[in-house]
Symmetry: C3
Subunit: 207 residues, 3 copies
């Protein structure tokens, strides 16, 4: 029951990340296949880098559901693109849920690998954020997360909450839910109240 709930959220997260890639790809004169690849890379890029760094088999090689879910996302985009605008806030919620879940999945995998806390939090952040970075690089844009929003920082903060729960011996199932929820809540609050870090001002360059 717990497993199927996690699987459902995992697929929702994959779907939402894939949609975000496909939407950004649209209007860039890409064909369907190119848009599929961009959606796929957005959904699996972070977890792939994490697994390469952890030296384990990339997760998507063990289960076709991530490729299939991205295919469903492409078909949904083609069929319902006029309604996607209305879905906007729903998709933002999915994307944020995906971010929370992917972050915790990355942390759990790293804890299992026996890594120190700070490396686990880095791995969680990589799992949640890197797909969007690769998407933006392939679309030839400066990655969004460097310029706007609390995004990666929500992963870091949520990771902190996760390990705080562990420190106080909260049962692991609850720790996972609380950690993922923390990521989601931090991001929602940051967006709602337009919280963001200060920009770095231009510096005279020598080179």
């Amino acid at each position: 029951m717990h497993l199927s709930f996690t699987t459902l959220l995992d697929l929702l997260g994959t779907f939402a990340f894939a949609i975000s890639g496909i939407r950004l790809a649209s209007g860039k004169q890409m064909d369907w296949f190119g848009a599929y690849i961009i959606g796929l890379v957005t959904a699996i890029g972070g977890g792939t880098l994490r697994d390469l760094l952890l030296d384990v088999t990339p997760f998507w090689m063990l289960d076709a559901k991530y490729f299939l879910t991205t295919g469903v996302a492409l078909v949904a985009t083609l069929l319902f693109k006029d309604k996607l605008f209305k879905w906007g806030s729903t998709l933002f919620l999915f994307d944020t849920i995906g971010l929370g879940l992917f972050t915790i999945v990355g942390i759990i995998k790293s804890v299992d690998a026996g890594l120190p806390v700070w490396v686990c939090i880095v791995m969680g952040t990589i799992t949640g954020s890197v797909g969007g970075v690769v998407r933006d690089v392939l679309l030839n844009e400066v990655p969004l997360i460097f310029r706007k929003d609390i995004y990666a920082l929500a992963c870091v903060a949520g990771g902190g909450v996760y390990f705080l729960c562990r420190y106080f011996n909260v049962p692991s199932g609850i720790t996972e839910i609380v950690g993922a929820t923390a990521v989601i809540v931090f991001r929602l609050i940051a967006v709602k109240y337009h919280l963001h870090l200060p920009q770095l001002q231009p510096i005279n360059k020598h080179t």
Copy 2:
């Protein structure tokens, strides 16, 4: 005899991919070394990502011939650049032969690693396509394969033909030749008849 034929095609493919990188680098105010690196990355990028995902030693670390062939490609470009335009269609053929061969090499490596069919086809496609993607990212352009031509799709289709042959117990040498030929023929037909997938139309963006 079979081995040396494969080696010849492998080096021709490397040469053609390297030339395609060096040609795209020219006119971007790069020096010779920069052009060499772009050519090298085009030729070995796909196989390197494949080997990282399969967790085996990257192929070019075991044999200097890929670095040397790229060097020959650079010298050839410097010496004969006026004639390169005339070589155009020959080079396109080499590039397509390289695509076919690299795809099958990627599939064989993955079959040997005991991976399921669909993962093998993905690995073949990565082997054939990713070098060109890294080349375009380094040259600060939206990767060509997302915008134009049947390229990665020819790898997928050729991979399907390869496994169809295996399913019917065709001897492995013939299966490999038929698979590589299929990639090549699919690409040539697509280019000759201007076949391409529909473009994804712009979608109103919420974010």
Copy 3:
């Protein structure tokens, strides 16, 4: 004593690479966190790719000092940014020292892994150069090293000096210092006398 000297240079190199990333990030409308990530990627990108290729645990997962040093670099930038321009030539020297040290670190790691000489030199060059390439790709610019300066080539030449010393049985500590110094001297000479390779002239393109 030797160890702590190496550690000091390692941290100086990390600091200088991080500063170079943060300086390039400034004025690109990035927030502090984005600038931190760009600095971090500049400092650890090359060694991370090297460790993935060598199939060993990425060095920064074993010691938090690289993340901490990058944090110090960000704070220093925020506090002293008006003075950074004056630091210019000092930072260039740090950056070049970092290049020399990182190159030799990469070579030593590869020699320990039992790789042939030319692969070791490639790994040294990757360790020294790739961080700056990833930085430029993330900032949406054609990587500087493809366009200007003797940079990667200084790594290759310094690597050659390193193995020349080994060939003549120079003690390993001295070999390392001589190799790193060679990289540094090659780069300083190249910059001082404006030495650079010829640019590759535009070629008519067929595709």
